[in-house]
Symmetry: C2
Subunit: 226 residues, 2 copies
Amino acid sequence: MGRTPSTREIPEATVARLPVYLRALQEVAGAELATISSERLAEMAGVNAAKVRKDLSYFGSYGTRGVGYDVEYLLFQIRRELGLTHDWPCVIAGLGNLGQALANYGGFQDRGFVVAALIDSDPAKVGTKVNGVVVCHVDDLADLVADRAISIGVIATPGAAAQEVADRMVAAGITSILNFAPTVITVPDEVSVRKVDLAVELQILSFYNERRSGQTGGPSGLENAG
Amino acid sequence: MGRTPSTREIPEATVARLPVYLRALQEVAGAELATISSERLAEMAGVNAAKVRKDLSYFGSYGTRGVGYDVEYLLFQIRRELGLTHDWPCVIAGLGNLGQALANYGGFQDRGFVVAALIDSDPAKVGTKVNGVVVCHVDDLADLVADRAISIGVIATPGAAAQEVADRMVAAGITSILNFAPTVITVPDEVSVRKVDLAVELQILSFYNERRSGQTGGPSGLENAG
DNA sequence: CCGACTTTGTGAACAAATGAACGAGGCCGG
DNA sequence: CCGGCCTCGTTCATTTGTTCACAAAGTCGG
């Protein structure tokens, strides 16, 4: 058991919002006053103020009544809670369009996620470099993961290959997977998976769009659904 | 009011799952039997069977008891429900790493989302072609949207530019926005926004990862959280 | 035509998440 | 030191979403 007060169960919905608060706080850090109210933070994060207060209360974070939250302290708390006090080495599998874009994307490194390895099954790609990192063959996955203490895997392969890559990642000891392939992958319970599917997002938008044009006069759609 | 039985309010959570069902159905279409059970569909979509049945029941879709759902008919229903009976022209704003990858990504066109226009604010990029489409200046946005009947905008700019681009899109008449920029954007109520943030996803994974390693013996994380 | 077997559709219990409301606790001006 | 003011932390009612469990409705073999 950790020594932190954070052992209390934190709701999934709250966890998903912490990164958003984090970003907002980073934006005001230094520049503005040293404290921020739940109201202001809520506005920046695009949520309700009561929600912010409740979310933050889960890990016993002290704001000061009448004043607000100390920005620096809150930043520290959220970072600690999210496990961002150290870097996370990641491996990206599949260096097609998307994989390469991800490998080149600065926003990763910025936020403590280091591209520690790249893998692909195409021999033509193996040995080339992307953003300074050598592409290895998928067979070397296990070694790479062990050597470089990688715990996060990003799947950017075509759908057909996703499950196999996921299996290999799990076998290699990876515990968290971010899946961009347009397929549902199955993993053991103790592995976390999150899925990002561009086409799905567009189709959801399409639904509300269609509704709008269909029902004359009845607007309203959805708000920032993350 | 439409003539379909689908005017009943469909829960947001259900809408978000329809594209997943759609994909699963496309996979079995033709190849296997002409019908599919809720159980099988649930397995493919990575959800609970009861959920599938309830979801499908919202738009009065007829399965046949004792048999299952007719794959082709269900495909048609879901497509219609999602407004995928016609193509949707989209505009992508911001042709950095991610924007270019998106423009080149086949999975879009495949599913009825046509990249009808590309825009950027960098004069050096204007006039070049990406995947056969000419990059235009952001000032031409309004004209492009009007000319090409664009209703979906994709923001792939740096965070700092996102809000302004969103404002311009809204002004130009776009009603749905997919936001990849790491910023919360504010739009009028009648515009739908969905946000995809890679760093946020990784940070969520990081949270559960940290938890796992922190609490010896207490595994469990989250399942395919969409 | 009947009875066994499947699988849907849905009512109801349960769980999670939200948002409003308000008391408690702390600052500040006088 | 005190009263007014601000903002957090928490409680509660409501809404939304999930899951179970079972009757209804259909198929199929004989």
